[in-house]
Symmetry: C2
């Protein structure tokens, strides 16, 4: 079977090597022939050669949602078109969730020129997000004082769309990866605890405390979005343990990288099983597992051997050019015991970032 992957980054890279066992071929459509997925693909196509790419592949998966318009139109016959379409605008995503009765924060839509007026309906602080897709905290502003709005207007046009969101003083962030096949069979990975720093995931681990509302939401969302493949849903858990959906992603997700070492079947394999009509694999955890992201570091900036000497660690290095806060690699950590696991996550963080992480 010929699997097409839109995007040439680490998600495609892991999708390829996690599924080599199935003896499929993997074709990558992207910008850079030296990018992680391109390098290990059976063939790399540049975006301008997209017609040839679509003639070659039997099905298509995506590694992100920022898909150029001329390609997006061609995705209608492949899985997850509707979910991808919703993800093209934050306001459409949130409006859809609200209309279906899912718990989301209070929000409203505003053009840039309306921001100063519309913000008056909210108690401060609020979060203001540019409508068109950003990720890893890009295009997001935390507003505690009305004077900060000028900063947004300096960076964006007055005609640009924004979402103003109520700020939730949440207890913690969690996520769940769900998987669904063409017949509507569904499975959920366990809930993971996620720790973000400045909008980027720093570490996570699973299984975290079960939360029935969270699981019910993801089961239901898999159907409402007609997912075939994987869906990641990020939640804020409020002080009273009720969940609020932060956002979803109809693709493999950074908070599911732990599944490669922790689960019977990784998120990358279940994605490919689903789109190639193989039975879904077990989403249970073999053992508690965590992940630490390596952000903005080159191999010279820390000691890999020190990390690998910690029992149960696995090192993933994407081979990308170093940029500030860029995801360069990650470490998975498996342990029989969650307390030990958290101590090891702390040790790995300290190896990578050379500072104290005593609160893990």
């Amino acid at each position: 079977m010929n699997i097409g992957i839109i995007g040439d980054g680490q998600l495609g890279w892991m999708t390829i090597f996690e599924n080599r066992k199935l003896n499929y071929k993997f074709f990558v459509l992207g910008n850079n022939p030296e990018a992680p997925a391109s390098r290990i693909s059976d063939r790399f196509f540049r975006y301008e050669d997209y017609k040839q790419f679509f003639e070659t592949v039997d099905t298509v998966v995506v590694e992100f949602e920022h898909i150029p318009d001329f390609i997006f139109e061609l995705l209608e016959r492949y899985p997850n078109f509707n979910a991808l379409k919703l993800k093209r605008s934050r306001i459409e995503e949130k409006t859809f969730l609200k209309s279906k009765g899912y718990p989301v924060v209070n929000f409203c839509y505003s053009y840039g020129y309306q921001l100063k007026e519309k913000i008056k309906d909210f108690a401060l602080p609020v979060i203001i997000k540019a409508e068109k897709l950003g990720y890893d905290g890009k295009g997001q502003y935390f507003i505690e004082d009305l004077s900060q709005i000028q900063n947004i207007l300096d960076n964006h046009s007055l005609e640009e769309g924004f979402i103003i969101e109520e700020f939730i003083n949440f207890k913690h962030e969690v996520s769940v990866i769900g998987v669904r096949d063409f017949d509507g069979n569904k499975r959920l990975y366990p809930i993971s605890f996620n720790y973000h720093e400045d909008g980027i995931l720093l570490y996570n681990y699973a299984p975290f405390v079960d939360n029935k509302s969270v699981s019910q939401i993801v089961y239901s969302l898999l159907d409402d979005l007609e997912i075939v493949g994987v869906l990641a849903v990020e939640f804020f858990i409020k002080q009273d343990d009720t969940p609020i959906i932060n956002e979803f992603a109809p693709r493999p997700h950074n908070t599911g990288h732990y599944t490669m070492d922790g689960s019977y079947t990784s998120q990358f394999e279940n994605l490919i099983r689903a789109v190639s009509r193989l039975p879904l694999g077990s989403t249970e955890s073999k053992l508690p597992t965590g992940m630490v992201n390596i952000l903005g570091k080159s191999l010279e900036d820390f000691n890999v051997n020190e990390i690998l000497k910690i029992e149960g660690t696995q090192f993933y290095w994407y081979g990308k050019e170093k940029k500030s806060r860029r995801k360069m690699g990650h470490v998975n950590i498996v342990d029989t015991d969650v307390s030990n696991l958290r101590r090891k996550i702390q040790s790995v963080l300290e190896c990578v970032y050379s500072k104290n992480f005593s609160k893990v």
Copy 2:
């Protein structure tokens, strides 16, 4: 780092995709550009281009021991030369083991023309094996009656070397994969129970009942053979639980395929960690795990979906041309409980071979 792999089969194939996470490059020296390892390598070299291969790679691992002479000479500067040298002749392998005090069966060397004479020193039955490397039962004869010797002489020359071996009525077969690094650090995977049919492994699982003598032998052999990488040692366990070494292989081994899903670190990853001077990974099992070999079948001969519907199965398909009894793929099975695991091994065998395997 540029890793060279001699051999283009499934062992090289798994070595490559199990280590993509490390972002090394993998170069394959072999016969067939369409073979499993060739297809997913960063570059394939034919044997006649061996000079270019050796100029490209930083280190070399092998996926078998039948290495052509003109290449074998060049391996002296790479790990495991001594062990590979011993493996070029069954008699040297056995003589080495005996001289070091390891338990081996009674055996003697014989040219073809001496067979009828030398066999008189043994009680029947005996095993007669051609000296030069065979594998999976090739070049091996089970002799219950002296008249069968004529059959051997019809297939071989009178000048060819053979080993005559005492036949052991063993209780079962087990193996252990050991791993050793450049500093002499050693780790052992748990003992696996192996079931062969006509000289080819049909299924195995681990951890099997611990046996201290077995572990001590493998620890000691890792040093005596100066292994850097992995060593597989196959044993016969006698009725009184004492072990006899059947043979060793200084490379990843079919009885260690379960480590890809069962262990913290697979045999393929620990091989590459060792030769690239990374710390060895944990060889412990996350959960009990078994493997079923798919021999001499094409994808049309059985129902993959039926196998994948059994919880905890993973399907590996090598993409080779079907031949009688050829290793075409394997299934790994993980379960929390060994009894359940054995039942699932039985179910997988029944899916693949459409016959009853009630004795697993």
